[in-house]
Structures are given as structure tokens and as C-alpha cells.
């Protein structure tokens, strides 16, 4: 089938109205054709406006509660439900019961300590995210997107900075650096040597954050890049670029 024939199927695909066989043929073509994929995205935007022909309706407030309580379950570590039991259960087990109580108490203390630590990490992460959102929404703030290249393929980052050069980088899907290594951000202006920023690491989920003061020269026209360097950082890049911005800011 020729490219044009596929293109004709795209509006119907955006309505998911293609019959199964046609849908499969088109999907195979989409995997290899950037132009058609782009076109599908545009048609999906058109199709999505149809949703606006439905009258908005208020769901019951319970739905919001249910969603948020599910989400909180995701956020808090698994905790076994604690059943209140009467004291004489322990006494009926005698010494064994006392030992079990000690084991349980120890487990509880360890569990609480772990929870406290996790909670602390989460609070830190949330505070950073909040700071990032605040920076992005500051009047005059700018955001530059960095895309993973070569070794960093699949990763992405956003660098936000305000008019005073307060900059914050948020990276996603960037693998944890090996022992002794860290990622480092660079400001590249024209053909001058890259100016070093700070280093950062990423967590299990590939998320990493960095805060720095951006040099004045970088604020008007710079490319931002991330490399992998020794933990303390380098004064000039020593590795290939993992992520970079593609437009001069």
C-alpha cells in the first residue's frame, strides 16, 4: 500500500473507527513513518474537540476522594493492618507470647524508622517539585527542554530559570550513574568552552534535580547539555553528551 493510502485512513484512526485489519495495517505503517504519526497526533487533537460537545456534568465528590485515597496508598509504604487484640491473648501464650511481643515491637520500631526515612525523602522530593512549579510559573521565567541523545536516549529534562538566573533542572528517565560518577550540567555559549554547572544524581525511578545560579552570559543564548563526570564534577566535559537542548534559548 502506498503512503497516501495510509494517510487517508488516519482521520478514521483518530476516531478509532477503522476495522481491525485496517487498524493493524496502519499501526504497522505508523511505527516506521514519522510523518503519518505526526498527522495522527493532529487528527487526534481534532477528534478530542468533539468531547466539548457533551455538556459538562459534575461527578459526585466521592470520586475525588476515592482517587486521592488510592494515590495516597501509592505514596505510603505498605503497612499491615494493625489489629487491636486483647491483652490476655499474650498471657495465654506465656513466654512464647512475650517473645513474639518483643519481635513484633522490634519490627514495629524498625518499620517506623523506615517509614520516617521514606516520608522524609518524599517530603524532600515534593518540596523540590513544588519549587520547580513555582519557578516555572514565575512571570518572565523560561523553560528549555533537553532531550536524551546517544547514551542518554529515552531520558528528558527541563531547565527552568527566572530573570535573575535562578535555575532548576528536573531530569526524568535518566539511569542512576555508576558508583563514583554523577551527571553534570553545562552552559554552552557560542564556540566558547562549556561553562560548568553543578552535578546531580538520579534515583531508582530515574528522576534527578539540580539547582544553580545561571551565569549571566548563558541567560540570553546558550545550549544546555548534560554529561557524566566524576562525582566531584569537572571543569571541562570528559564524556559524550547524554542530554542537550536543541534550540538556543
Amino acid at each position: 500500500m502506498v503512503h497516501e493510502a495510509y494517510k487517508e485512513m488516519i482521520p478514521a484512526r483518530a476516531l478509532s473507527a477503522l476495522d481491525a485489519a485496517e487498524a493493524q495495517t496502519l499501526n504497522e505503517h505508523l511505527e516506521n513513518c514519522d510523518e503519518c504519526r505526526k498527522e495522527l497526533e493532529e487528527w487526534q487533537a481534532t477528534a478530542a474537540t468533539l468531547a466539548l460537545t457533551s455538556e459538562p456534568v459534575e461527578p459526585s465528590p466521592a470520586v475525588r476522594e476515592r482517587i486521592l485515597s488510592e494515590v495516597r496508598k501509592d505514596l505510603s509504604p505498605e503497612v499491615l493492618p494493625f489489629r487491636s487484640t486483647s491483652r490476655n491473648i499474650w498471657s495465654s501464650f506465656g513466654a512464647l507470647g512475650a517473645m513474639a511481643a518483643v519481635v513484633l515491637l522490634t519490627a514495629l520500631i524498625v518499620g517506623l524508622a523506615v517509614m520516617w526515612r521514606q516520608n522524609q525523602l518524599m517530603q524532600e522530593e515534593m518540596a523540590q517539585t513544588k519549587e520547580f512549579v513555582e519557578l516555572v510559573t514565575t512571570p518572565g521565567a523560561r523553560v528549555s527542554d533537553l532531550k536524551g541523545v546517544d547514551l542518554g536516549a529515552g531520558a528528558a529534562a527541563s531547565l527552568a530559570y527566572d530573570q535573575n538566573g535562578h535555575a532548576m533542572l528536573m531530569a526524568k528517565k535518566l539511569p542512576r550513574p555508576p558508583q563514583g560518577k554523577a551527571y553534570q550540567l553545562w552552559f554552552i555559549v557560542g564556540t566558547k568552552p562549556p561553562m560548568p554547572s553543578k552535578t546531580f544524581s538520579t534515583d531508582k525511578s530515574g528522576t534527578g534535580m539540580l539547582k544553580d545560579q545561571m551565569p549571566k552570559e548563558a541567560m540570553d543564548s546558550a545550549v544546555f547539555a548534560i554529561t557524566m563526570e566524576p562525582e566531584g564534577g569537572s571543569s571541562a566535559p570528559t564524556s559524550p553528551i547524554y542530554l542537550r537542548s536543541f534550540e538556543v534559548n
Binding site: T49, E55, V133, T207
Partner: protein
């Protein structure tokens, strides 16, 4: 994206979208408050859509919950270069809604179009990310399509019918349905293109 100063509503919407992107970024980093905010912006439009597809409050609420839990888990997959948050959310909700409709084999939905209970309050537009003007623009554009083009589009979008099913449903040849659907979509896009900034195309 350039703003067209001749349209008074235009500068407002891209700003909303910037906020949506910031919210999705925060949700990807597991910010619960950001999820609550995104929910409040979209709940009425998405629930209205799901009610239209499923015509059943309980099912629609269940799917709405599924949609936002998926947003929570998949926000990091949202890619701004591939479309607007509005498109992403609506496409996700509509596809979940149609999946549910199929699962329920509820094509013969309780037919009373007026089956909405009085408690189905039409949303207060103040909390709604999409004001009635935007909805009006789409309805106007759709009203300009001939019925024969509009019906296949609506049957596909809101009832999840495929082109063959639509042909059977309308008693029209498959080729004709394909042509009308395509012509209708092209016309719809042209009509909305004039309002492009309002929809973030």
C-alpha cells in the same frame, strides 16, 4: 505558538495549557496536590464525556477514577511535543469509556436519552477549564457539517462503532461511510482551524 491578538479569548487558553503541562510535570513527580488540581480542572468535561458514552452514572464515575489513576501512574509518559494535555486527557478518557462500553456490551444502552437524574448537575463553568465559548465553537462547527457526514463521526466517537458497524447501522455502503467520515473530519478541522488558538492546535 503565536497568539492572535484579534481573538480576545485566545491568550487565555495557551496559558491554561502551560499550567496543565506544569501540573503534569508535578504529577509525574508524585505531587498529590497537582493531581487534585488537574482533576478539578477536567472532572466536569471528562465526566460529561463519559456520561455521554456510558449513560450510566456509576460506570462513568468508575471509569473517571480509572482515568485519573492512570494519569497518576503515566504522567511521565506525557510528551508535550506530541500533543496538548487536553488532547491527551480526552483521548485517554474516551478510549477508557469506549472500552468499558464494549465490555458491558451495552450498545443497547438504556435508551432514554433523558435518563439523566436531576442530580446530574450541569457543571459550574467557573471551575471548568473549558468555558462554554469553546464548547459553543465546536458545536457550531459541527452544526455546519451535513448530517450524512456528522452521523458517522458521532457514532464512531461516542459509541465506538467501527466503519463497518456504522455502514450496517446506517444501511449505507462501506465505501460511502469511509468517504463521508473522512470528508466530515477534514471539514471539521477546517472550521476549527479558524479558532485554532482556542484549541491549541
Amino acid at each position: 505558538m503565536s497568539l492572535n491578538p484579534s481573538k480576545s479569548a485566545a491568550p487565555y487558553i495557551p496559558r491554561l495549557q502551560d499550567t496543565d503541562v506544569a501540573l503534569l510535570t508535578a504529577i509525574a513527580a508524585h505531587d498529590e496536590a497537582a493531581l487534585a488540581q488537574l482533576y478539578d480542572r477536567y472532572r466536569a468535561i471528562l465526566f460529561g464525556l463519559l456520561m455521554r458514552i456510558l449513560n450510566n452514572r456509576e460506570e462513568a464515575e468508575d471509569v473517571l477514577q480509572e482515568v485519573f489513576l492512570q494519569v497518576w501512574r503515566k504522567a511521565q509518559d506525557f510528551d508535550e511535543s506530541r500533543g496538548r494535555p487536553f488532547t491527551w486527557l480526552v483521548t485517554l478518557a474516551r478510549s477508557r469509556g469506549i472500552d468499558r462500553l464494549r465490555t458491558l456490551a451495552a450498545r443497547e444502552r438504556v435508551a432514554e436519552a433523558g435518563a439523566r437524574e436531576p442530580s446530574d448537575e450541569i457543571s459550574d463553568a467557573a471551575t471548568d477549564a473549558f468555558k462554554s465559548e469553546q464548547r459553543g465553537l465546536v458545536s457550531d462547527a459541527l452544526a455546519k457539517l451535513p448530517d450524512e457526514q456528522k452521523r458517522p463521526i458521532m457514532l464512531a466517537y461516542f459509541e465506538g462503532l467501527t466503519q463497518s458497524e456504522i455502514a450496517t447501522n446506517l444501511g449505507a455502503p462501506l465505501g460511502t461511510v469511509k468517504t463521508r467520515m473522512r470528508t466530515g473530519m477534514i471539514r471539521l478541522r477546517e472550521l476549527l482551524a479558524g479558532q485554532g488558538e482556542s484549541f491549541g492546535f
